[in-house]
């Protein structure tokens, strides 16, 4: 079937089988390899992307459900790795093999967008379904806290900039 949907801000029109999951559309049709295949059964979270702003397992979303949707993948999370999670992940050296990490970051980005200062319990609840076979979980948790900090300080400095601009005016 022919569908049109937005991927990382660009409208794409493609012709694929109606039951083809978004995961494989991204990886094989659109050549966006950042979203990973781990299980194909909603059991691991490696395939997590944002659909209309919510973290979603792309292996479970068929082409037929995509028309008009806005999809953001790890490749489109930020320009130049500037998202606080991407910064924190590098700073704390979170990845081991790295295979789960795109999914972890996309899930965590959803968490931070609704809950900018999550507790450990909030993190556990949000990240429960994102498996890391290497068990980099200590650093995933620390990375989310660090990203929250980075985001808070950049909000504070933006606010300061705004205040000082007003001061000058």
């Amino acid at each position: 079937m022919k569908i049109t949907f937005s991927v990382n801000g660009t409208n794409r029109t493609i012709d694929v089988p109606a039951d083809m999951p978004l995961l494989w559309i991204l990886r094989d049709t659109l050549d966006l390899k950042g979203t990973k295949f781990g299980c194909g059964q909603a059991l691991c979270g490696a395939c997590t992307v944002h659909i209309n702003g919510s973290a979603t397992r792309s292996c479970q979303v068929p082409a037929s459900a995509l028309n008009g949707r806005k999809v953001v993948t790890i490749e489109g999370l930020s320009a130049q790795a500037s998202h606080p999670l991407q910064q924190a992940w590098q700073e704390l050296d979170v990845p081991q093999c790295g295979y789960c990490q795109a999914g972890q970051i996309m899930q965590a980005a959803d968490l931070l967008s609704s809950n900018p200062q999550p507790t450990d319990e909030d993190i556990d609840a949000a990240m429960y379904g994102n498996l890391c076979r290497c068990a980099s979980y200590h650093r995933i948790r620390a990375g989310i806290h660090r990203a929250a900090e980075l985001a808070a300080s950049s909000r504070a400095s933006t606010q300061q900039d705004a205040d000082s601009t007003q001061g000058v005016a």
């Binding site: 990973k36 295949f37 500037s82 081991q96 790295g98 429960y128």
Partner: protein
Amino acid sequence: MSTPSPILARRDFLRVTAVAGGGMLLGTMVDFAGIGVVNAMEPAGEFMPNAFIRISGAGVITILAKNPEIGQGIRTMLPMLVAEELDVAWQQVIVEQAMSDEAKYGSQFAGGSMATPTNWEPLRRAGAAGRQMLVAVAAASWNVPVGECTTEAGVVHHESSRRRATYGELASRAATMTPPALDAVKLKDPKDFRIIGKSIPGVDNLKIVTGKPLFGIDVTVPGMLYAIFEKSPVFGARVASANVDEVRGLPGVKQAFVVEGTTNLSGLMPGVAILADSWWAARSARRQLRVTWEQHPTAQQSSAGFRARAKEFFAAAPQTVARQDGDVVTAFAAAAKVVEAEYEYPFLAHAPLEPQNCTASFANGKLEIWAPTQAPQGGRQLVAQTLGIKPEDIAIHMMRCGGGFGRRLLNDYMVEAAWIARQAGVPVKLVWSREDDTQHDFYRPAGFHKLKGAVDANGRITAWENHFATFGDGQRFAQAASISPNEFPISFIPNALFGVSQMPLGVPTGFLRAPTSNAIAFVYQSFIDELALAAGKDPVQFRLDLLDQGGIVAATPAAPASPVNAARMKGVLELVAEKSEWGKRKFPRGSGVGVGMHFSHRGYFAEVVEVNVSQRGEVKIVKVWVAGDVGSHIINPSGAMAQVQGSVLDGIAQAMKQEITIDGGRSVQTSLADYELLRITEVPPVEVHFRTTEFPPTGMGEPALPPVIPALASAIFMATGKRIRSLPLARHDLSWS
């Protein structure tokens, strides 16, 4: 924070071609890493003192990462060794993955925690040789003694004349020199290390967090088809018939055929290949595939059957006695107390998150392979033998692996892709489903132990006997199913016997992170706790006393001395006891601590686990303390910490809930729904301490895993009074009142 650091941005310019090295490239190379197609020609005037270093006239310093990266951090750590002695700043270095070429790079293998001990000196020497040549060129051109020149961050200085030259400026002249003999070069005094000992983040982190193609599963080759390979769930069964004609007509399907396969359980097994223009099309067509499999004797095998057979073995004497010290019969008769117990552990899967996959292209008698593999050289041999082609006609690109854990030491998926690509006549990307991955692993073999131990009136162990029931044909053990007769505490006890009985196995088995150790540490350390209890001694003190008992009097070829250095083992045991305040805390019923220690892969680890067990039997791990001794240096503390914490959590996952059950000659478990991985909610704090000793540094990928399992089991005993003699814990009712 919005612009990436210059280091990482520069790494993105990695020139893929040079990875190919000595003429292994087939024309230009495919741009799988998102970098651009480039030509294989090397510009003239580059300084390449050896296979690991390349310095261009423009000052670009490239270090080759020789080994497969499976998440253990080796692509970062080995180049650190070269960079240290070359004396460049890490920020200047571009790390490039080497091709599989053992003639050029030496052993390229990710297993046995071997990379650190085997490369620690050679790679530093490779770096030092490069530095020595650059210094010699600078000194000659300034007409000053070599000894007056110093280096730092890729620059040679002559202090008194205030002259300096960058490595790039010296490269073309250095390129004309003959490299020195590696064993003659001088290495730094460790106190001058600038990179070794610093936490260096993984060199691929930027690509990982931005989703750049990097892993085996991300490879794209022009004109390739996507393949699925269906094998019999009963291991090794051949195809009797399959509706391949019908499958060929399904949407997107280009080819479908039966592969006869071989009888090598670690090689090309029989099956049916479906090739389509997308993986999804191949996978959809697979649902219409109908295969009748031939009868196979393995269908008679089951976990329950293995257990029953082990019981029969235990009712008789072992088939073979692999080691006998002193006289156990007399020692048992004279003992103050004798303890007997049977232990067992299940088959386990590796379950790396990236399912097995491989891309292969066969043209003009030559094969090019892109594989996530831990053992590329083994893969080359297997493919060469199976396809009947020459090993030198196979080029292997070592792709980053989405987890290894020992699974990718065996290259079944590589030979499948190679065979299918040659038969299909087009490049093929084979990707297994999660179900394929779960049902066609090389499982950690199950094992059964009947133990008998004696303590004397002073509470010392006087006799130790183990009857090990395992798998083999009577001549040879099944893969990874043997255990060393010399494993600690044997040779620390005067009277000991290690007997073995083997039963046949048709299930493929292999090496799982800390192979052997991940099983035997649970059994032996738990049994040592049982003996400590019988002796009325504290488990830590009991172990210290055992270590003090020392090796046997006279080691012989049949009864060698223990490989365990008692002083190093005591060192970590005392350290973990101190850090966990062992013996100083009181625990109410339902809570407890346990200790375990183990020597493997040249590393010494002792661990303490604290648990709470609810009255309903739910286990919560409160904390884990780890003490490790891997020698004189922790080369990359960030990577080391990740490996230790990851290993400990891996051990916890195995102990808590993992099990592969064989029934009807197949794995009962088929996915992550019934073979569960650890979740973030199950992760306790893991506090790690290292004790540095004068020994050369050794590997970190495995030795921290084994002790946590018995430590957890004995903590549960303290909390509930229930002795854990089989795994996983999920099998046990741990409720108490």
